[in-house]
């Protein structure tokens, strides 16, 4: 068949596809409603693929092949886009995908936890027992700053503050904390080193702060403040570190795959975990801004609620998401 006969015979098919995938192109649909053509798209598309293969085989001219290739590309995008309209994506993510991903990658979570917790405990003990230890990590200005924050007499934390300040702090916590979590994750692609650095660094810093505050005796303002949102915040930082370590490990020991394939597979898992920890940090920022800082709530209530949050988070991570993995 000559090229022009070919174009003449199948042109209408191509035009119909064009009308479906690119409604703005100005191509008029034939008398049939566009809905019916959209339903027929899979059929039309397989015809188009056939035409493209034929055109290549018969060595029709480059411009025709380019045109068919461009059209198949757009139809391909149209057909293969992901359609989640009928699934409860968000619920499914929270109740299944995220906890399941944590379970599948439990060893990374444990390693990340160790990298965060051990330096924190070490620094806590050192700063609690030795007055000057804190200055190995922070400069005197910083130390004075956070001492003032938690000083019981000063009520800076405990003061009943306006809702406007709460909103400002909410914005700050979101930007700051989720930023830290994302950086902890991203650093993982450098063979895990970035994630390790951020985990250890944050562990040292938080441990030092807690230890020093206990040392100077401001516990009764510090711990009621941090216990609530800490449940979500500290675990989320560990999780994002674990996600980063997964990327790094895929590069160090790709198993039976090439490094690139292993990295891509790890990236898919890590995406779930990092999105989950971003959600946890969102909750944490909300609590930190509107609950932890609330002065009207007595400390015992804060301890109770805080403990409840910890139980909740730990139960969420351990109980959910294992059903399918172990069956």
């Amino acid at each position: 068949m000559r090229q022009q006969d070919f174009e003449h015979r199948y042109g209408p098919v191509w035009q119909q596809i064009e009308a479906v995938v690119d409604p703005a192109s100005g191509v008029e649909l034939e008398a049939v409603g566009s809905g019916r053509i959209a339903e027929a798209l899979p059929e039309l598309y397989s015809q188009l693929c056939h035409h493209l293969a034929l055109a290549k085989h018969r060595r029709y001219s480059g411009s025709l092949i380019n045109r068919l290739n461009a059209l198949s590309m757009r139809a391909h995008h149209h057909l293969y886009r992901h359609n989640h309209r009928y699934e409860h994506v968000f619920l499914k993510f929270l109740l299944e995908a995220f906890p399941a991903a944590l379970h599948r990658n439990a060893r990374f979570v444990w390693i990340a936890l160790a990298c965060f917790l051990l330096p924190a405990l070490l620094m806590w003990a050192l700063c609690f027992t030795q007055q000057d230890m804190i200055f190995s990590l922070m400069d005197p200005g910083q130390v004075r700053g956070f001492e003032a924050m938690y000083e019981p007499g000063n009520h800076a934390i405990g003061r009943e503050r306006g809702s406007e300040t709460d909103l400002m702090m909410f914005g700050f916590y979101i930007k700051n904390n989720i930023g830290i979590s994302f950086r902890t994750f991203a650093g993982g692609i450098l063979f895990g080193l970035g994630s390790l650095f951020f985990l250890i660094y944050n562990g040292l810093f938080i441990g030092a702060a807690a230890g020093h505050i206990s040392h100077v005796g401001y516990q009764e303002t510090f711990f009621p403040f941090v216990i609530g949102h800490g449940a979500f915040e500290l675990t989320a930082i560990v999780f994002s570190g674990a996600a980063g370590l997964m990327l790094g490990w895929a590069l160090i020991d790709p198993g039976g795959y090439t490094r690139l394939v292993a990295l891509r597979e790890a990236g898919r898992e890590a995406a779930t975990i990092i999105l989950g920890s971003a959600l946890m940090l969102l909750v944490a920022a909300f609590l930190e801004a509107f609950w932890s800082s609330h002065a009207g709530v007595p400390a015992p209530v804060k301890y109770t609620v805080g403990t409840f949050f910890w139980v909740l988070v730990i139960a969420y991570c351990t109980l959910l998401g294992r059903v399918r993995g172990e069956s």
Binding site: Q4, I174, R183, G194, L263, R264, R268, L275
Partner: protein, 226 residues
Amino acid sequence: MIDTRYQVETPEGIELQADLAGPVSRVLAYAVDILIRQAVTLLVLLLLVFLGEAGWGLWLLLSFVLEWFYPVLFEVFHSGQTPGKKMMGIQVVNDDLTPVTFSTSTVRNLLRFADFMPFAYLFGIASMVCHPEFKRLGDLAAGTLVIYRKQAPVQAALPASDPLPLNRKLDLEEQVAIISFTERHQQISRERQQELAEIIGESFGQRTEKAVGFLQGVGIWLLGGR
């Protein structure tokens, strides 16, 4: 060999072709995006500054979203194109040339931080320059590509010659050469066409200035003109 063609075989058994976008257009697209982002943050700051601390809170939220999710949202909901990419005519897709999804786009954009290391996107650019498909670290982990968005090519008008049947058998290579010579008559200068026509025309005994018209006629006949 340097080749910016990228091919994927689809389940339908055809090979889709795409042209990979190189570092230069990608860096330019990024520059446009960063300008837009800065302008928006600044403008919103000017507005929100009148709202006091609540305004600061909102601004911090917005700048967080712009910093981390501006590319993700555009790539997922705007067929792989941030405004800068749209301007450069490029688009992000998955490795298999399917549209980018929320999770792949998140991975490639969160890893920008690693690409930025140690400063000014040094790792990212180094990785792009070394990788045959111009991937930066984020693309490697997410399994994404940046390609030129194909416009459906405009069908070129054929030259106004009458079809000229040949009574001699042409082999496939000859047919392809003559047809593409005919179709590209608007892209090649007149002089060059003359030169080419004399080379091809030699085997048909056509050496004069009529060679161009002769080949175009044959080309139209080969394409199916009657």
